[in-house]
């Protein structure tokens, strides 16, 4: 097996696959429309859900001012008033049971402080287990309270005949997050979604490419040529690696243009890491495509094997550290776990990949393993 021959056969497969993708309307729709659609769908689904956030109130003060604050919150579009509670245990029970998304505790003397032109204290308790919701709730809450605070300030300054700028802000919310102290912010959603969508999409892209040839009959032509299995696998991977990186760019652009969240760190590095990462998913898709009996089955398996573990076991929804030990080990083997760390850092902390060399190495190793698995799973036979 001489090297130029290997390269030539590999590129022959890659070229045929490449041409197929740009000529087949269905493939083209998956490549271009699906990532944008999924990002919009999930992005908005999460935003919609955050319209009517229910909350409970523990009011130690029971003053005119505290009633005014509760009324303002209840009338806001974002929040729905649930109930007044007496104890801290009640709050925990409501949050744990998912009946309310957050609770506010108005401290004793709140009304007096405001009347005196000082700052009244309000504690906000957020459910950190659902970090995305908590982050967004916190953002809304700060906005609503700031507006309420500004109104009070103006009123107070006017009654004293002094300029509003000389007044102290009357309300100071003190957020405290339950269950997940390092609260993750709203911009967490977009990089996480990109990771999940691309994992699924990459596997979906390649899941068809061998079983499709089997169904169409062109596999018999390919398999009766002197090409080696690994040449077929690499040849199939090449065009999809390019397509996957293109789709990552598409996702980044959609996230930026629609949700106004752009990666603040090294974008070129992000693309390179994405490529390393997605080779694993692409290889999983190829493996499925080698063994699946039909295109439909392959699509379904690709979806299940990538979407579910990526959503549940990688820290996208549930923090890895709060999982049982066994699941933590499993999560280390899922490439998205490591990729999420890197993509979130590049989006949020504005870094490059330098500090995350451990994660990138893990991704490279996992991808390599999956390429080998795909090459081993592939059979040049019709049985």
């Amino acid at each position: 097996m001489s090297r130029p021959d290997t390269l030539r056969r590999t590129l022959a497969v890659a070229r045929a696959e490449w041409i197929h993708n740009w000529r087949d309307p269905r493939s083209l729709a998956i490549i271009i429309a699906l990532p944008i659609m999924l990002l919009l769908l999930y992005g908005y689904a999460i935003n919609f859900e955050l319209r009517e956030l229910t909350f409970a109130v523990q009011d130690w003060d029971r003053s005119e001012q505290s009633a005014d604050l509760i009324d303002t919150l209840a009338r806001s579009d974002y929040f729905t008033f649930h109930s007044l509670v007496e104890t801290g245990e009640q709050i925990e029970r409501l949050i744990e049971g998912g009946e309310v998304r957050f609770a506010i505790v108005i401290m004793p003397g709140f009304g007096e402080q405001i009347a005196a032109g000082k700052t009244g204290r309000v504690q906000v308790l957020l459910d950190g287990a659902d970090s995305t919701t908590a982050g967004i709730a916190q953002g809304y809450l700060e906005g609503v309270m700031r507006a309420h605070s500004a109104r009070l300030m103006k009123r107070w300054a006017k009654s004293r005949g002094i300029p509003a700028s000389a007044a102290q802000p009357p309300i100071q919310p003190e957020p405290r997050v339950l269950y997940n102290p390092e609260l993750k912010t709203a911009s967490f959603i977009v990089p996480g979604l990109i990771a999940v969508i691309m994992t699924m999409l990459a596997a979906l892209l390649t899941s068809g490419c061998i079983v499709r040839e089997r169904e169409a009959g062109s596999f018999e032509g390919l398999a009766s040529s002197p090409i080696a299995p690994v040449e077929i696998i690499i040849g199939k991977l090449l065009p999809y690696a390019g397509i996957a990186v293109f789709d990552v760019m598409l996702c980044i652009a959609t996230g930026g243009l629609i949700f106004h969240i752009w990666p603040s760190g090294d974008r070129a590095a992000l693309l390179v890491v994405s490529l390393v990462y997605l080779i694993a998913s692409l290889s999983i898709g190829l493996t499925i495509s080698s063994v699946a009996r039909s295109h439909q089955v392959a699509t379904l398996i690709a979806f299940l094997t990538t979407m579910l573990p990526t959503m549940l076991l990688t820290g996208f929804v549930f923090p890895v550290r709060s999982m049982p030990k066994l699941l933590q080990y499993i999560s280390q083997m899922i490439p998205a776990t490591h990729f999420l760390v890197v993509i979130r850092a590049i989006y949020l902390k504005g870094t490059g990949v330098g500090p995350y060399i451990r994660e990138v190495t893990a991704l490279a190793l996992i991808s390599l393993v999956f390429v080998v698995v795909a090459a081993k799973a592939f059979r040049k036979s019709l049985e």
Partner: protein
């Protein structure tokens, strides 16, 4: 050449309970156009797939162009051209792109390929369609394009699986024109077909049934071996007549063919007049009776009847 071009010995392949190929012995000499003739399910396609190494046999030996297929499948594939029953080109690639694809898979010199391609495109009349996508071609054009791709690496052995199924007569003639010229280039051809007309074009035939070769020889030899006399009777109604003639002593096989009966007879079977009067006795109208030259189809039919009887 002393070494046969294609040789199998005791080849067996089963799929679960079904025995597809059952101790198949095949010997095809270099430069032959060999017809592997049998009805559907006889084991033709499985045999060809075993020859290409696309399926692994349960037991038996396979040598193709001097290469042990089981041990060195890739070496064998370099020497093999294969036209599968299903369309094996990429539908959304043009003819030119498909040719390039196979030239690359077999690592052929592109200069030589260009020469070979133009020659084959001319012979098939596809020269003006090279930019058309394979999926948009007619059935006959598809097969011709697939044949070009199977020949682009100048194989020494060419396997054709029902090459003219669903192909119009003109394309069929074009296809065979190319196949006829291959032995002169030293190419051995094996054609799997259920069709006696197609089998008649072969230089030698192996009749396959139940996964084994039941008889082999030139078409003439097979005709001589399995048919003695053949009588054609024009009669109405054919169904009733067929049953009647079938039960006469000395009759091997009867087939109905559009208002005609073709009656295959033992040497000591009834004469044309005896058949004619037997039918007339039953009140059937007989419009004509004549002795005809038996053809391969009659031989294959007779062979099947013999096997059923055994």
């Amino acid at each position: 050449m002393a070494e046969a071009s294609v040789r199998t010995k005791g080849l067996c392949k089963r799929f679960g309970e079904i025995v597809a190929v059952d101790g198949l012995d095949l010997r095809v000499e270099a430069g032959e156009i060999f017809g592997l003739v049998g009805s559907d399910g006889a084991g033709k396609t499985t045999t060809l797939r075993l020859l290409t190494g696309l399926m692994a046999p349960d037991s038996g030996e396979i040598m193709v162009a001097g290469v042990d297929v089981r041990a060195y499948p890739e070496d064998a594939r370099r020497r093999l051209g294969y036209l599968p029953q299903t369309f094996a080109l990429h539908g959304d690639l043009s003819i030119a792109e498909n040719i390039r694809y196979f030239a690359d898979l077999f690592c052929q010199d592109l200069g030589e390929v260009a020469e070979r391609r133009d020659e084959l495109l001319d012979a098939t009349g596809l020269a003006e369609f090279t930019e058309r996508r394979a999926q948009d071609l007619s059935g006959g054009m598809k097969q011709k394009a697939a044949l070009i791709c199977a020949l682009i690496h100048r194989p020494t052995v060419l396997l054709l699986d029902e090459p003219t199924r669903g192909v119009d007569p003109v394309s069929r003639r074009d296809l065979w024109q190319i196949v006829y010229e291959l032995p002169a280039e030293g190419v051995t051809v094996i054609v799997a077909t259920p069709d006696a007309d197609e089998a008649e074009r072969c230089s030698r035939i192996g009749v396959i049934a139940g996964g084994a070769i039941v008889d082999a020889g030139t078409p003439e030899e097979l005709v001589a071996r399995h048919t003695a006399r053949l009588i054609e009777v024009a009669t109405e109604p054919t169904r009733q007549a067929r049953r009647l003639v079938h039960d006469m002593p000395g009759v091997r096989a009867v087939s109905a063919l559009g208002g005609h009966l073709r009656v295959s007879l033992e040497d000591d079977g009834p004469s044309a007049d005896e058949i004619s009067s037997a039918l007339a006795d039953e009140g059937l109208r007989v419009e004509g009776v004549r002795e005809v030259e038996p053809r391969l189809e009659d031989a294959l039919l007779a062979l099947e009847v013999e096997r059923d009887a055994a």
